[in-house]
């Protein structure tokens, strides 16, 4: 039971501000806006996985499904803006997940957010050798807490993922990180060089967040 992150309670389709603020209003008339109207937050939300792929494709933009078991939240995010390999993925309410080189580096609006970090790129994760992660997250009394971990990756074989009606063959990687009396495991499902799905730890409040790339 536990408190819900209010911003993510609804499975909102997103108003994707893919370019700038001006771009935001332009998108309202397109497929994304139409689907947004269908799924505006009210009581009986269907489970995210119940939405047919055809509906999602109407939005016309890449979509990642973000899930968090700790608070039972699910939301679709689309690319809001990008700079080099860094992409900000956002929901309609402005909840933000920032990925650099495919790896989650920051969140906003999830509660107990990861405010900043020093993370490896996906290349470093795949390579398997020892690498480091530093997390700076918001904890009690709104203070920033720091966690430094040393990580190594292990490939555990192939796995076929069924995502919204399509099957993807992937390689499953498990990254084990230790430090400060803590051990956690991040998981990546690689489809070639693309991260098809990942399960990454964000902060003590949130725990793990699962990111599934649904629409490319």
């Amino acid at each position: 039971m536990g408190q819900q992150g209010m911003a993510l309670k609804s499975i909102g389709m997103l108003a994707v501000c893919a370019l700038t603020l001006a771009g935001c209003s332009a998108l309202k008339g397109t497929g994304a806006g139409a689907v947004l109207a269908m799924f505006k937050g009210k009581g009986d939300q269907p489970a995210a996985t119940a939405i047919p792929r055809a509906e999602l494709e109407k939005a016309g933009i890449p979509l990642i499904l973000v899930r968090n078991k700790t608070f039972g939240t699910e939301a679709f995010v689309g690319p809001r803006d990008s700079r080099g390999s860094l992409v900000n993925w956002a929901t309609a309410d402005g909840v933000l997940v920032t990925l650099r080189d495919g790896v989650l580096i920051e969140t906003r609006g999830l509660g107990g957010d990861l405010m900043s970090s020093a993370m490896p790129g996906i290349g470093q994760v795949i390579a398997g050798g020892s690498h480091r992660r530093s997390y700076f997250y918001t904890g009690p009394d709104d203070r920033i807490f720091r966690l430094d971990l040393t990580c190594s990756t292990e490939a555990t074989g192939s796995e076929t993922l069924a995502i919204f009606g399509l099957a993807y063959p992937t390689r499953h990687l498990v990254e084990t990180c230790r430090g400060d009396g803590v051990e956690l495991q991040n998981e990546y499902w690689m489809q070639g060089g693309l991260i098809r799905q990942s399960r990454e730890w964000v902060s003590p409040t949130l725990g793990y967040v699962e990111l599934t790339r649904v629409i490319d």
């Binding site: 536990g2 209010m6 956002a90 900043s116 970090s117 700076f136 920033i144 400060d180 409040t205």
Partner: protein
């Protein structure tokens, strides 16, 4: 560069065991403390040696037989906690017959008490946790007790408590008086610490056991050494047949528990507790939409024209830039009060209406500037404005904003590169606020309450409105309409005192005004010189007094110390809540010199010396603890020339103050707060004009003391 005052906010945590779920209460080897009927960590009626987690705030409502207790407790520091309690005993005068004792006039008696607990030892290894407690250390002494209690955890489900108690806790089956006899408390009018009684008189051993069956259910048993001599023995309000108490409690989570008990072999009792940890937000965390990405300028080599400073000569540059900035800022509740620029520097004066943390408004403004300002502008000066006063000037370099956006620990890194200064006077080259913003009319309607006596008063609707004009002029008022009251249940006893009734006629004020004009005033705020702020308020300043109030405050942006001077001239208003002054022919000039000190870590102190409404002179000392999210708990006491006899019951004015920010409850951005002041008694000594909008709290949010508490976690949010 102004250096940060408080030490770095970074904390390294040991997170063992916390990965599976939400952040738990700080990991401790022992079980969580549970509260007793007296609202402090304890068993049933007996205290234990534990302490609540630092900063925790609890409300306990417990009762058995004729007795009901409501206790507020606050863990002021990890080793010191305080409590404020009201105990109501029914059937107080049912069997006694002594007319000489004024207490016997009450059929139901309210006793207020203050406690202090000092946590001497934390539990670890073989060592138990040990606490010394002073119960009802200042007051009529009816509830007075002192104790040393120790609690040890066995395994991870059982706690054993044992201790020695004096006073009430030594009244049953004592083993002797190790420190001599207990003199009668020097009660006088009550309200003063009875130090000469502490740890004196008969002492007894008390103890008990607490067994946690599972995460939700706990069973307790204890041996109580409180004989209830007055309640059970003398007044026979209940029968104390046995010293053994038992009970079972349901703990829904760390925040709430309910219990049912068998007490003294004759009564069934209940205990409901709420524990709040202000450091943990009610809604998972700080919510609200994320910020736009920082705007990045093109490189000089790729686009040298963009870096040209010629745009400054464009006559319509200002309106265009302001419009574009509004597109970013207004959705975040930030409005431009003024705006001026050169080719390399821009100063923007903003009003922050939404974010509780000034640092977040500053960060959002920097992002907006990074998108809108032409590339040649390198220096951002962001000036938060409150009621027309520029509270501070935050200077940062655009290159730092661009380069630090996704750097690890960027909050602290940016703080080291930012300069804070004063921003008095107007902005040269600025054209002021958008004419559409002013006048600003705001209104609100909500439930309110008025207290005449403990647990007596009325509830009703309160309508407030404010009309803000540019240049720091604010017209405001509030009207209260009574909906329901239990005033007729107040049993009035002359509580003594010979001061003019500047406050003690509160019952008349509440009774006579079903509809009351509480406030109607015009205030003018200014920032005339560096570090100097001024206020002038005129009108019906508060429900009981009207007049004029002027204030000057000296407060540099990064100083721990602030000094102020306030002068007022007021007349006492009629009790009917209207515009007249005929009831009391009383006017007085009052004033104070004030010193404010920010001790760091959220502890604030204030000392006011001067003349109070009843003509008495003296000092008020206030201590507050403020949390980063805006929670504030404080206590105050006034010591004035009004002798205890003149003051009446209570001896001196004292009370508690509590502020709960709305954004803590909701998670979403909001600057609204709920405020409550609790006084055991409203008497006439040490009374200040209750004028709203004093300077210190108005501008503090944008000075480094407060900004730094929130900077690291908010400036990049």
């Amino acid at each position: 560069m102004s250096t940060r005052r408080s030490k770095s906010q970074l904390a390294v945590t040991a997170l063992a065991g916390l990965l599976c779920g939400p952040l738990a209460v700080p990991a401790r080897a022992e079980m969580r403390p549970t509260l007793s009927f007296t609202g402090v960590p304890g068993l049933i009626d007996m205290p234990s040696g534990e302490a609540m987690a630092d900063g925790n705030f609890s409300v306990a409502v417990a009762g058995f037989g004729p007795i009901t207790r409501t206790t507020l407790s606050f863990q002021i520091t990890p080793w010191l906690s305080g409590s404020y309690r009201i105990q109501n005993t029914r059937n107080w005068n049912e069997v006694v017959n002594d007319p000489a004792n004024p207490e016997n006039l009450y059929s139901s008696y309210n006793d207020r008490s203050f406690d202090l607990r000092i946590h001497l030892l934390k539990e670890s290894g073989w060592r138990p946790s040990v606490t010394i407690g002073l119960q009802d250390f200042a007051g009529t002494g009816k509830f007075g007790a002192e104790y040393i209690a120790a609690t040890k955890t066995i395994g991870d489900r059982v706690k054993i408590t044992g201790g020695v108690g004096w006073g009430r806790l030594g009244s049953y089956n004592s083993f002797g008086s190790p420190f001599g006899d207990r003199p009668d408390p020097d009660v006088g009018r009550g309200g003063k610490p009875n130090a000469n009684t502490w740890f004196r008189g008969p002492a007894s051993f008390f103890g008990g056991i607490e067994w946690q069956l599972n995460d939700a259910w706990t069973v307790k048993a204890e041996y109580s050494t409180d004989a209830y001599g007055e309640e059970a023995g003398y007044r026979k309000t209940f029968e104390r047949r046995s010293p053994f108490n038992f009970g079972i409690e349901y703990h829904r989570d760390e925040t709430m528990s309910v219990g049912i008990y068998s007490l003294y072999g004759s009564e069934i009792g209940f205990n409901v507790n709420f524990v709040l940890d202000p450091k943990r937000r009610a809604m998972t965390g700080i919510l609200g939409a994320g910020p736009v990405a920082v705007g990045q300028r093109p490189s000089r080599s790729a686009d040298p024209d963009a870096w040209d400073g010629g745009w400054v000569t464009q006559p319509d540059a200002a309106p265009i830039l302001r419009d574009n900035l509004d597109k970013y800022l207004n959705p975040d509740g930030i409005y431009i009060e003024d705006f001026a620029y050169t080719a390399t520097t821009v100063q923007i004066r903003i009003r922050n209406d939404k974010f509780d943390a000034g640092a977040q408004a500053i960060g959002r403004t920097a992002r907006a500037l990074s998108h809108v300002m032409p590339a040649s502008v390198e220096v951002f000066e962001i000036v938060p404005v409150v009621r027309g006063m520029a509270a501070s000037k935050v200077t940062m370099r655009r290159s730092d904003i661009e380069s630090l956006e996704h750097v690890a620990n960027n909050g602290a890194v940016l703080r080291d590169r930012v300069a804070f200064g004063d921003a008095s006077g107007g902005l040269a080259g600025g054209s002021g606020a958008d004419p559409e913003y002013y006048p600003q009319f705001n209104w609100g309607l909500g439930l309110g309450y008025r207290v005449s006596a403990p647990a007596r008063g009325d509830v009703g609707l309160r309508a407030t409105a404010s009309y803000e004009l540019p240049q720091g002029i604010v017209l405001s008022g509030s009207v209260y309409g009574r909906v329901y009251d239990n005033l007729d249940k107040v049993f009035v006893i002359d509580k003594g005192g010979s001061l003019p009734p500047v406050r003690s006629d509160v019952r008349d004020y509440n009774e006579d005004s079903p509809l009351a004009l509480e406030r109607l005033q015009a205030a003018w705020y200014a920032h005339p010189a560096d570090n100097i702020y001024t206020r002038l308020t005129f009108g019906y300043l508060e429900p009981m007094h009207a007049g004029i109030s002027g204030e000057v405050l000296w407060k540099p942006v990064d100083s721990r110390l602030a000094l102020g001077l306030e002068l007022n001239y007021t007349k006492q208003r009629d009790t009917d809540g209207g515009f007249g002054f005929g009831d009391y022919d009383y006017s007085i000039a009052t004033g104070h010199v004030s010193a404010y000190y920010d001790f760091g870590n959220g502890f604030l102190g204030q000392l006011d010396v001067g003349r109070y409404l009843a003509g008495d002179t003296g000092a008020t000392i206030t201590l507050d603890r403020e949390f980063a999210n805006g929670w504030k708990v404080g206590a105050f006491a006034s010591f004035t020339s009004a002798s205890a006899e003149e003051f009446g019951e209570g001896s001196f004015d004292k009370g508690l103050h509590l502020t709960i920010p709305m954004n803590w409850l909701l998670g979403q951005p909001s600057r609204k707060e709920m405020d409550a002041t609790i006084r055991p008694l409203q008497r006439d000594g040490g009374a200040r004009v209750d004028v709203q909008g004093r300077l210190y709290d108005t501008i503090r949010d944008y000075h480094t003391g407060r900004l730094d508490e929130q900077w690291d976690s908010r400036v990049w949010r």
